[in-house]
Amino acid sequence: MIALGALSSCATLPAYKTAIADNKVSVPVSLFAQSNFQLIQPKNSYYNIGLKKEPDGTYTALLLKCTHADNQLTATGNGYKCSLHGSAFDSEGQVTNGPAERPLKKYTTQIINDQVIIILS
């Protein structure tokens, strides 16, 4: 367990880390000034959320958890890949390669006071 903790603390990653409060994740809109994509790392979670700004100004939030065997997904720029069995998803969470058959979990988002609110329900 000491080894696990040490390695975990070594992970200095630039994803936006935030806590979950009341089943919601809050992300500043300003993070999207330079890019239309931001990886969100909810604290104490083993899965990231991919948050994408759409051309119409809305946001798409996807849980990066493979719908085949629950493995973590890798963001590739135009989608997500799973190294476990090779499943792939597009930026909207739709399956582009099996064996996964179901799309990624998509969360509802709202914009309130310059914050993107991801509603985890």
Binding site: L4, L7, S8, A11, L13, P14, A15, I20, N23, L39, Q41, P42, K43, N44, S45, Y46, Y47, N48, I49, L63, L64, K65, H68, A69, D70, Q72, T74, A75, T76, G77, N78, G79, K81, S83, L84, H85, G86, D90, Q94, V95, T96, N97, G98, P99, E101, K105, L120, S121
Partner: protein, 406 residues
Amino acid sequence: MKAKIFTLSFLSLTLSAAALAQTKTTTSEDSLNNNLSKSATTIGGYGNAFYQRNNVAGTSRLDLERFVLFTGHKFNDQISFFSELEVEDAKVTGGESGGEVSIEQAYLKFNLNANQYFVAGLFIPRIGILNENHLPNTFNGNERNYVETFIIPATWRELGVGFYGNLNNLPLSYSAGLMNGLNSNGFVHGTGLEDGRAEGRNATGNNLAITAALQLNINSFRAQISGYYGGTVGVSKRKADSLGLTSGIFGTPVAIGEGDIMYSNGGFSTRALATIVSIPDAANINRAFANNTPQTEYGAYLELAYDLLYPGHSLHAKQFIVFVRDENFDMNAQIPSNGVIDGTLKQNHIVAGFTYLPIKNVAIKADVRFIHTGPQNPELIVNPNPVALPYQVNNNLVDLGIGFSF
């Protein structure tokens, strides 16, 4: 009295249960998984069957080549289990050759965070393309490519630990593994490293191997490099000395280097891979075991494919992929002084055909494999003509089959 005791016990249990329910905490994972399936155990699988016509030999065969069941279980947010149970050639009968039942993977996965995890158990290291991603609906051709069958012996799994991670600021994944090594006593002329694998059964622990891989994923482009280095003599030092072999963790080593790329755009896709195997002490292995082990093996392939149904493509569209693949490999590119060269192990295969996917998880395949090899070495002919037919350097196989995964 008994009724009162029963009533009090019931009330006590009810209150305890209510108290437990009230104190149950909601974790981040619980929040993320709202309205998702709560099942902790998952089942999946894959398989393929095909008809093959050997036009030179004038023979045909039909085979359920593989049927594999995945079983996974999530113990909690941090620890889960994955396994694959494989049956090759449909049936295994005692006392008869052919067929195989094996555990293809069985490991525990320990999540460190959203980007890093450990695995421990029987796992498949990240070497090449096919080793990790070998579902029949994800590659073209009924048979797997021969480079990742004979040079990289996919599906290659061993016992050990692996560490996997992704970077957030770069589209880069990395992995490293420590596992049992190969057994050079098991090497068989003409099958590369394949028969030196332990695959979870009584592997020797005196010799070990390390692997590492870096994988870049940018949009629809993937590039990977990977390597392997491990000892092949797992016997005691005393026995190794008597065989004239170097024992120890990395004694009498095998080294493998590999690089590959994959790219897709529109309906077009391509993949290419090159790999080399080095066994610098092959002469010592040959002297000890007389198995004609080579010093160097190599292999490479290039595949081009196009989905004829791509125009008007939608996410749930059918695919009709036509492809051509050029495979080149030599299982005795360099032999030691006490080895015997076998020209038939230098081969070129051109594979062309189609993969029709009515849905993404089901494939109907047809292909033809044109094989050209070097000449047979007369010194290796056990049954000369007319006891056996003369060796043909050119052959072709016609394959028609199905594949699926779920």
